[in-house]
Symmetry: C2
Subunit: 301 residues, 2 copies
DNA sequence: TGAGCTTTATTGTCTAGGACAAAAAGCGTC
DNA sequence: GACGCTTTTTGTCCTAGACAATAAAGCTCA
């Protein structure tokens, strides 16, 4: 079996580091040091790709590339989360139950996890389930990934199974005459679907008519969807991973595309620094969602 | 309201054309012709972005950029699908029912679509439902998009609602001792989830223990997942949109990462030209899926 | 000590134009 | 019409430079 050759495109795919960044680092920090093929194109040895993955992971934890690429591999291995870890030290019986749920994922017991979550949903009801189980678990998976106790594929499994639970729960909600009509989606490059589903569950519970477009709808098409569905509201989700700087411009552009009667609601960890404006509502937490909907119903009685 | 300014990154996001391609076209064909900001960076006027979107759409229909960018906008508007359209001219009562289902999506009546599909699922059973309803509808949505009778957001709505139906159906399948154990996912940049779900439904029906990781799992993590779950099989899906040239290398790399006892199965429209090999099975159609699983059970009795 | 402001360092994204190989089209032959 | 070969088309990769957004560091003041 030949050693797999990593082109710069393959490394970009595997590490999430853009081609520009990979070339820049090589120029600036002297790492990576890929070989060249017959055509002068970079070939990355597997070890360097692996190292780049570690570096990327530490960057996501708040470290800076300059230090990481200067440090020896051994120094690197010892590094942990660097960001001001605002861990809520809540340890009660509830907390223990949640830890057990995550334990099931870590043991890769999908069936047991689903079963336990179903039970929890039945006991808590959908609203509490979303706010006090799914939301908390999601945050906890994030921190677990940061401190290295969760692998990527474990997070994938968690996300996929939890998405199924929420979609199933949403599907069982009663139909009938519902308002307002809300188009739910995210912009291109924003693939985080879980937050969107949590919001959908809460909105549907309050009687909204939700039109889920999935993630990554181009802006123009969001506008057209709002028009075609005669949406009262378009709700977007931005995760904390989404580049902050782009959000403002995106919102402005989208507002220009929306029909005059359609409001824009934005939520998710990514919009913490966005401020509300004309026809723009910022949902800073899941509680805001329910409150916002009640406001809307009150003013559009 | 200021006119929204499109940076090259924004245009890439909106059109799906890479920055390299946008700059290359400008150089080579004289279009687009963006202005420049104070820093010399490209600013694209909204009309050009809109035109680029049309061009991209026509390219997806088989046209070539050289012609499209030389043609006048009026000529462009008249163009339709160009690819050898292998439309099966099946028009029976079944066909009419499917057309009605798509009609519901086009009328944006999500509730009616879900209801009709639920009924169909109950009548046909999951296997027929997947093979003769979902698979056919998916193909038809593809061609409808190509001939312009489906908008992007309508396709998004179709995909999202259909995903929900399948996930729900899968969830209701009985548990118990199941084999083989199959990890299902796709590689980074492959975000098509529907094919994966169809396969999962068929495999689960045959008694397999499916571990769904969602889409876009990095290769290393697919390997780790296979290991951690002691998977008998890893099943990957490649849509026709996935760059053909990368598939071969990806498969080779992934095989190197998989434990020795784990087989790799690949399916989807993207693998039509891939040929089977040691520990690699190519599923060219949904029927192959069921057959492959029965083979496996027979040889691993 | 800590909050807020200013300066400096770091880092990613953009620019230009050139080169080459993979894919598609065109063409000849069976 | 189906196959193999040649030419054209087209996307991706290359180098190397510039600048602005972000984070860190230094400073002032309460």
């Amino acid at each position: 079996m030949e050693t797999p050759a990593f082109s710069i495109a393959a490394v970009e795919r595997d590490t999430g580091l853009s081609k520009d960044v990979l070339r820049m680092w090589e120029r600036r920090y002297g790492f990576p040091t890929p070989g060249r093929d017959a055509n002068g194109e970079r070939i990355y040895p597997p070890e360097q790709v692996e190292h780049l993955r570690r570096v990327k992971r530490l960057m996501d934890l708040g470290h800076r590339p300059g230090k990481l690429l200067a440090a020896s591999p051994e120094t690197l291995a010892a590094l942990g989360p660097r960001r001001a870890a605002v861990r809520e030290a809540e340890a009660g019986p509830e907390d223990e139950a949640l830890a057990e749920l995550l334990g099931l994922i870590k043991q890769h017991d999908a069936a047991a996890y689903q079963h336990a979550m179903q039970q929890r949903l039945a006991r808590q009801g959908l609203q509490d389930f979303v706010q006090h189980t799914v939301a908390v678990l999601t945050r906890r998976v994030g921190t677990a990934w940061e401190d290295g106790s969760f692998e990527v594929f474990e997070e994938h499994l968690f996300t996929e199974l939890t998405k199924r639970l929420l979609r199933q729960a949403i599907a069982t909600l009663p139909g009938g005459a519902r308002r307002p009509r809300i188009v739910l989606t995210s912009v291109p490059d924003e693939e985080h679907a879980l937050g969107l589903l949590m919001v959908e569950a809460l909105l549907a519970l309050e009687g909204a008519d939700c039109i889920p477009l999935g993630t990554q709808t181009p802006l123009q098409d969001i506008g057209r969807a709002a028009d075609a569905h005669r949406a009262d509201i378009v709700a977007l989700s931005f995760s904390s991973a989404f580049p902050q700087r782009q959000i403002g411009a995106l919102i402005t552009q989208l507002q220009a595309l929306l029909p005059g009667h359609t409001e824009l609601w934005v939520g998710g960890d990514g919009v913490a620094r966005v401020s509300a404006a004309e026809r723009l509502r910022v949902l800073h937490s899941l509680d805001d969602t329910t409150a916002a909907l009640r406001d809307w119903l009150a003013t559009h009685g």
